[in-house]
């Protein structure tokens, strides 16, 4: 009598298959399926009602969604560029420090150690129009005698959120670029000096090309991070006032958990994931190009 046995390769892969199924596959299939239903958290039976692409059609014509979509891109662009410039500047300065550099490097990471929620609360206080630090300073120095509505005015609120975001995450760029600076061989820089480069020309023609792969790695990581910005915004403005700081994730969580329309929220998620995918593809493309430029393979 022979017993039927599962093939060995399958047995060996089974633990991995189980883990991946539990962690990624099932949630993915479930959420994708539910985006074709009018699933409401408060009425579980709606999960079994198939509405086809209704949710997607609704999103495509939803002004609020596309406003949040555009605002997220804007937020992403401004935050990434400013963080890059500031991080590059900080890294270049720290690279010149000869004494106590380790200490400074550790201190650089302090903002990354805080929970984003706490950063949100902290800046909510700092920018508070009545008791906040910023208004206090402005008024006591005498720049203005009225309280500036930092978190209430739409543009100022966006600025305040950006400020908090940049405060928290510039060090990611600084650390990664600093690692890049450490990895630059000394010889080409010295050759450039002898070849007649001013410090600016050395930076422009030698240092920067060497840093580009590191910059694009930082960009890729941060674009994924910022595209799912939620905590700081939720704490500081909650997407308000009047949705003027609404980003994709605050909109999605409002739709999913406050309005309980999970099917619609999941559909939004699948549309907005395009954004992350596009940014990732773009930066990876740039990264490979920059690496090829330096003669690195793979």
């Amino acid at each position: 009598m022979t017993r039927r046995r599962l093939p060995e390769w399958f047995l060996l892969l089974l633990p991995a298959i189980i883990v991946i199924a539990a962690v990624v596959l099932i949630p993915l299939i479930f959420s994708f399926y539910s985006s074709f239903t009018p699933y409401k958290l408060t009425r579980p039976s709606t999960l079994w009602k198939w509405v086809g692409t209704y949710n997607y059609e609704k999103i495509l014509s939803d002004v609020k969604f596309w406003a949040a979509f555009g605002r997220t891109i804007l937020f992403l662009t401004i935050a990434l560029n400013l963080e890059l410039m500031l991080g590059l500047g900080i890294a270049l300065l720290v690279n010149k420090v000869t004494w106590g550099q380790r200490g400074i490097r550790t201190m650089l990471m302090f903002p990354m150690m805080f929970s984003p929620i706490l950063v949100g609360f902290q800046f909510k206080f700092i920018f508070n129009d009545n008791i906040g630090l910023v208004n206090n300073i402005i008024q006591s120095v005498g720049f203005a005698d009225v309280a500036l509505p930092w978190l209430v005015d739409g543009k100022l609120a966006m600025f305040s959120i950006l400020f908090a975001e940049i405060w928290m995450s510039t060090s990611v760029f600084a650390i990664l670029i600093l690692a890049g600076l450490f990895a630059i061989p000394r010889d080409p820089l010295e050759a450039a000096k002898v070849d007649g480069c001013t410090p600016w020309q050395s930076f422009r023609h030698i240092t920067l090309p060497f840093l580009m792969p590191f910059i694009f790695i930082a960009m890729t990581i941060r674009s994924l991070d910022v595209a799912r910005a939620y905590d700081i915004v939720q704490i500081m403005t909650g997407g308000g006032p009047a949705r003027r700081t609404e980003l994709l994730w605050t909109l999605m969580s409002r739709t999913g958990y406050v309005d309980a329309r999970m099917g619609l929220a999941n559909a939004m998620g699948y549309v907005s994931i395009l954004l992350s995918i596009l940014f990732t593809i773009y930066f990876f493309h740039k990264l490979s190009a920059a690496r090829a430029e330096l003669g690195m393979t793979g």
Partner: protein, 363 residues
């Protein structure tokens, strides 16, 4: 005109002194090689001339300008680095033309200068490649090409051949020598390889522990070393050095071996003086396999421990008083280990050094 003058130049790293007040005059279009064991300060000296290291004391002049406080770009020098230091993101052509581009030379002139340099170094076909696609020897040529496009007053070479294999090194050595004839500029070349120093230099500057030990033409250093260090550093195989004591008109090398003091050295040593006795392998030859029987010659019987046939000659190893010495056999026949041969030592080619200071008594 670009003579280079170093006047009591010091270099300190913190409290550690790497270069001790060295002075050196290098003539226009001269090929000077700084040579010495690692850590002797030769590269530091070169980098101070280049402007890549600060000068702690003294002055360096190029032409008649003191360059101590000038950045490298204002010194009109170019440098070839040990690791080539090519710009990996630029093609060979861009690497060659980079310094001209920085100097804002018109594109057409850059192109013709790059072509000229590429032609001199045989790089024409590689002009569009990236450094990663080149072999070591090709990279080295690009590094040299990058140095010559600008027609600088002084070329600095920092151990440019040490990353190449032996065959390529010999080949590049010849090319560098030819290049010097073509560009007619002053060249300062750093190496730890005495063969490179001997073959390339108009003058060798031999350094040790941040001091200059001896400056001279290759043959001066070879024939008239100022001390034991120079004698053993220059020449291959290194000079044989034996301890000895002066006894009357003889030098006692071991209990049962004494040789005559060369006649012109007799007034220079005193009875009972401890000395170091040096001779090159070329001057210790088996009877009948050396140069001639003329001049002052001592005959020593030695047991050969090892023979290294090199074709036109054979290196023989033997021991005198427990110290290994090397001898050279011309027109060699095969020699077996353990064979005892009668050797002739040419006394008038021998060197006598002070036992304590190592300084040459008879150079």
């Amino acid at each position: 005109m670009a003579n280079v003058t170093l006047d009591t130049v010091d270099k300190f790293y913190g409290k550690h002194q790497a270069v001790h007040g060295i002075s050196l005059d290098i003539a226009d279009q001269e090929f000077v090689v700084l040579v010495g064991p690692s850590g002797c300060g030769k590269s530091t000296t070169l980098r101070m001339i280049a402007g890549l290291e600060d000068i702690s004391g003294g002055t360096i002049s190029i032409g008649d300008r003191v360059v101590n406080d000038l950045p490298p770009r204002e010194r009109n020098i170019s440098m070839v680095f040990q690791n080539y230091a090519l710009y990996p993101h630029m093609t060979v052509g861009e690497n060659l033309g980079f310094s001209l581009k920085i100097a804002k030379m018109p594109d057409a002139e850059i192109a013709s200068a790059v072509n000229e340099a590429a032609q001199i170094l045989g790089l024409d076909e590689l002009i569009d490649r990236k450094p990663a696609e080149l072999s070591g020897g090709q990279r080295q040529r690009v590094a040299m090409g990058r140095a010559i496009v600008r027609h600088p007053e002084v070329f600095l070479f920092d151990e440019p051949l040490s990353n190449l294999d032996a065959k390529l090194r010999t080949q590049m050595r010849v090319e560098i020598k030819k290049l010097h004839k073509k560009v007619a500029s002053t060249i300062i070349y750093v190496t730890h390889d005495q063969v490179e120093a001997m073959t390339l230099a108009d003058r060798i500057v031999l350094m040790r522990d941040g001091h200059i030990v001896q400056v001279g033409t290759p043959l001066e250093l070879f024939n008239k070393p100022v001390d034991v260090f120079v004698a053993t550093f220059i020449g291959s195989p290194p000079m044989n050095i034996l301890d000895g004591v002066v006894r009357g008109d003889q030098i006692q090398l071991t209990d049962d071996l004494a040789i005559k003091i060369p006649s012109d050295a007799r007034g220079l040593v005193q009875d009972g003086q401890a000395i170091k006795f040096g001779f090159r392998a070329d001057n210790l030859t088996p009877k009948g396999h050396g140069v001639s029987d003329e001049g002052e010659i001592a005959t020593i019987d030695l047991e050969v421990s090892l023979a290294e046939p090199l074709g036109t000659e054979t290196l023989l190893f033997a021991e005198i008083g427990g110290v290994e010495v090397q001898a050279k056999m011309l027109n060699p026949r095969s020699v077996k280990p353990g064979e005892t041969l009668s050797f002739q030592l040419m006394l008038d080619k021998c060197h006598i050094f002070d036992a304590d200071t190592g300084a040459a008594i008879r150079g």
